[in-house]
């Protein structure tokens, strides 16, 4: 609302394709900050362990995966200790799946606000993507701990990490926007999501090594942006060689998914309130 006094605003039937109004988004930044902050603040309200949950959740996963896949099934991880191997992947994956889940439900769970007050609708799916970063940063302590334990030496690969950090946010943001817009019309999304996300973990080299994928399929496999993020984190943090030919396709897909998600969200925005 923080427009200048002389502003003229026109309300008219929406065009078929919504246009992204960046100026408006800037005007609502205070609200955006508060909603992100609310998400963070409220998440662990009335819990005993509080933010420790952000550690416990991935930690238990890592322990179980390490026992089952590392000790029992003895998956080959190219000579990297399994705990280290899975930790670098599970941490970004936990963030991506959590952010995706919350983002896709954002419009449905915020439908009360949606029908009572106007602010740029994009704020709804964007909020959990940012709020969940807090959990991510807290869970990084596990990663740091494991890396210190195995005395991993840092390499210059670390400078590439911001690329994968951004890609890690683009994927849940893009898919989240598209699914949020879909979920408000078809509540099927709510039932499909937890199940689909659980399956997605097997689509990327989180529990197994990508080198096990047959060479002829490897190129197609790398179009999965989750593959790029996971491989990128592993290469950056563990100083493995960057296999860019298998990373580029996924990064391009991540950007594409974000843009398509945004376009679809803006196109559907005009009908949200009418179909709640």
């Amino acid at each position: 609302m923080s427009e200048s006094t002389n502003s003229l605003s026109v309300i008219k039937p929406p065009s078929r394709w919504g246009i992204l109004n960046l100026k408006e988004l800037v005007n609502y930044r205070d609200l955006f900050v508060f909603l992100v902050w609310r998400d963070i603040k409220v998440l662990y309200a009335q819990t005993i362990l509080g933010f420790a949950w952000a550690i416990i959740n991935p930690l238990v996963q890592i322990v179980i995966f390490s026992i089952i896949f590392g000790k029992v099934a003895k998956l080959d991880t190219d000579g990297i200790p399994y705990i280290l191997f899975s930790t670098v992947a599970v941490i970004p994956w936990t963030y991506m799946s959590d952010a995706l889940n919350r983002s896709s439900q954002s419009l449905v769970s915020g439908q009360n606000m949606l029908g009572k007050v106007y602010f740029p609708r994009l704020i709804f799916p964007a909020t959990p993507v940012l709020a969940k970063l807090v959990d991510f940063f807290i869970s990084l302590t596990i990663l740091v701990g494991v890396m210190i334990y195995y005395q991993v030496e840092l390499t210059t690969n670390l400078f590439y990490l911001p690329i994968f950090f951004v890609a890690m946010m683009l994927v849940p943001a893009g898919i989240g926007m598209a699914l949020a817009a879909m979920a408000i019309r078809y509540r099927d999304v709510k039932f499909a999501m937890p199940f689909a996300v659980r399956m997605l973990i097997y689509s990327a080299p989180i529990l197994y090594s990508a080198s096990k994928i047959p060479e002829e399929y490897r190129f197609y496999y790398s179009f999965n942006p989750i593959v790029s993020v996971v491989e990128g984190y592993r290469a950056c943090l563990l100083g493995l060689p960057m296999q860019w030919q298998y990373i580029y396709p996924g990064l391009i897909m991540a950007v594409l998914i974000f843009i398509l998600g945004l376009v679809y969200f803006k196109k559907m925005e005009r009908i949200f309130v009418d179909v709640i």
């Binding site: 026109v10 609310r38 603040k41 309200a45 009335q46 007050v117 602010f119 309130v273």
Partner: protein, 435 residues
């Protein structure tokens, strides 16, 4: 700002809705199973059709079985500093119009030009989170309503003082009483300072003294040269706040004029005079009963608009029971022109027997004795409840009104005195001189 340009300029606003396709009934189990198998496809078509209007002839603005024109070619202009009341019956299109002006939902046709910062208040406490403290919720709710963080910082103390919950600022809102929550939420809203303010029926909350405080605050807002659009069922409040009124019905703008005239038209609108309203099958209704008429009757048994303060006022409700099986209790609520709920007139204990109402017409009368009401306009809400479970069959909000005029005879509280008398009611109680 160019003050000669109107603040809000709405031109031919229309809004179309699809009500959702009717369900078909199955005649046998085979067709039922067949339909179940096909249901994902038909469900998809149904939900998708909710926002597709290609098949509808949009030039006619005609309602059909499946299509509802919530707004039809509504046009009006509001100048800067005007305070306008929007009234109309339930389902007339008021809320849709507010949602369109607030940009919550886009219009299907037409456009609105708005000049100035707009804030709309369709609900108090939007965005309130029970786990957050009062202080945190003030900031959250403030930004949701469109204030910047700096603005809230500067008004924070004022907001808290107005809400009267200073001592609980750092307590989570879930531990608040509902009254406290409403007061805090309203205080935030009352301190919005946009150039254009759009307010829905939000004054119907909180206790009477707080309501009055809010009304005064709203009056200040109007006085400060802001454009305010105000929707309410509270006739007294709108007449007090607004000079100009808009009457909306069946999605159309029926009248645009002085608030008094518009309220008058609303209370008269084809269902009889303001002190008598009758319906013929189109009244408010529930599962078991339907409202036929509500009337104010004088001592001669005739409908009357104006009562002498000494006269008995009889409130009469006639309803038609369409289905037996429930005990029905009629209630009246009397409001004065400040919008204060003076008293309820609940059906007495002897009506709460265990016999069910028979189908057909039932008439009840409640009598307010003379020398009880104060002078001025009074508005009456009439409702019908079922007993166990307690469900409203209908609630007709301030459907009828009547005027009480004081007398300068000696058999009144005034007893011939000519000054100004305060008080929401004016009952004549016994006095004794003991020495």
């Amino acid at each position: 700002m160019n003050s000669t340009m109107p603040a809000i300029e709405a031109e031919n606003i229309s809004k179309i809705y699809r009500l959702g396709v009717k369900l078909k009934r199955d005649e046998n189990i085979v067709s039922s199973i067949g339909r179940m198998l096909k249901s994902p496809i038909s469900n998809y078509k149904k939900y998708r059709s909710l926002y597709k209007f290609e098949d509808v002839d949009q030039s006619k603005r005609e309602d059909t079985e499946d299509i509802l024109w919530a707004l039809k070619n509504v046009s009006f202009k509001l100048d800067h500093g005007e305070v306008v009341g929007l009234i109309g019956h339930n389902g007339a299109g008021k809320s849709t119009l507010l949602k369109v002006i607030s940009r919550i939902t886009p219009p299907s046709h037409g456009h609105i030009n708005m000049r100035g910062r707009v804030a709309s208040l369709l609900e108090v406490g939007t965005g309130f989170h029970p786990e957050l403290t009062g202080r945190e919720n003030v900031y959250l709710n403030g930004t949701v309503l469109g204030m910047s963080r700096r603005e809230i910082d500067s008004k924070f103390d004022e907001i808290v003082a107005f809400s009267e919950v200073e001592d609980f600022l750092d307590t989570p809102v879930k531990r608040y009483s509902s009254g406290m929550r409403v007061r805090l939420a309203f205080s935030v809203a009352a301190h919005l300072e946009p150039e254009i303010l759009i307010v829905d029926e939000v004054l119907a909350v909180g206790d009477a003294s707080f309501q009055n405080k809010c009304l005064s605050k709203m009056e200040d807002v109007g006085g400060a040269g802001r454009t305010v659009m105000f929707v309410s069922h509270n006739m007294a409040a709108v007449t007090r706040l607004c000079k100009r009124g808009l009457l909306i019905g069946h999605g159309q703008l029926l009248m645009d004029g002085s608030m008094h005239k518009v309220v008058d038209a609303y209370l008269h609108d084809g269902h009889g005079t303001s002190s008598s309203k009758e319906w013929d099958g189109d009244g408010p209704q529930g599962e078991y009963a339907e409202l036929k008429s509500v009337r104010v009757i004088d001592q001669k048994g005739e409908v009357s608009d104006v009562f002498d303060i000494r006269e008995t006022v009889s409130l009469e409700v006639t309803f038609n029971v369409s289905k037996t099986g429930r005990q029905l209790l009629p209630h009246f609520h009397v409001f004065n022109q400040e919008g204060i709920h003076l008293f309820p007139l609940l059906a007495p204990a002897e009506y709460r027997g265990d016999s069910f109402h028979s189908t057909g017409e039932h008439i009840y009368v409640a009598k307010i004795p003379g020398n009880y009401l104060a002078e001025g306009m009074h508005y009456v809400t009439c409702s019908l409840m079922t007993m166990s479970p307690d469900r409203a069959q209908f609630v007709a909000d301030q459907v009828i009104g009547f005027q009480v005029v004081d007398s300068d005879e000696l058999d009144t509280v005034r007893a011939g005195w000519g000054g100004k008398l305060r008080g929401a009611v004016r009952p004549m109680f016994a006095w004794e001189k003991l020495s």
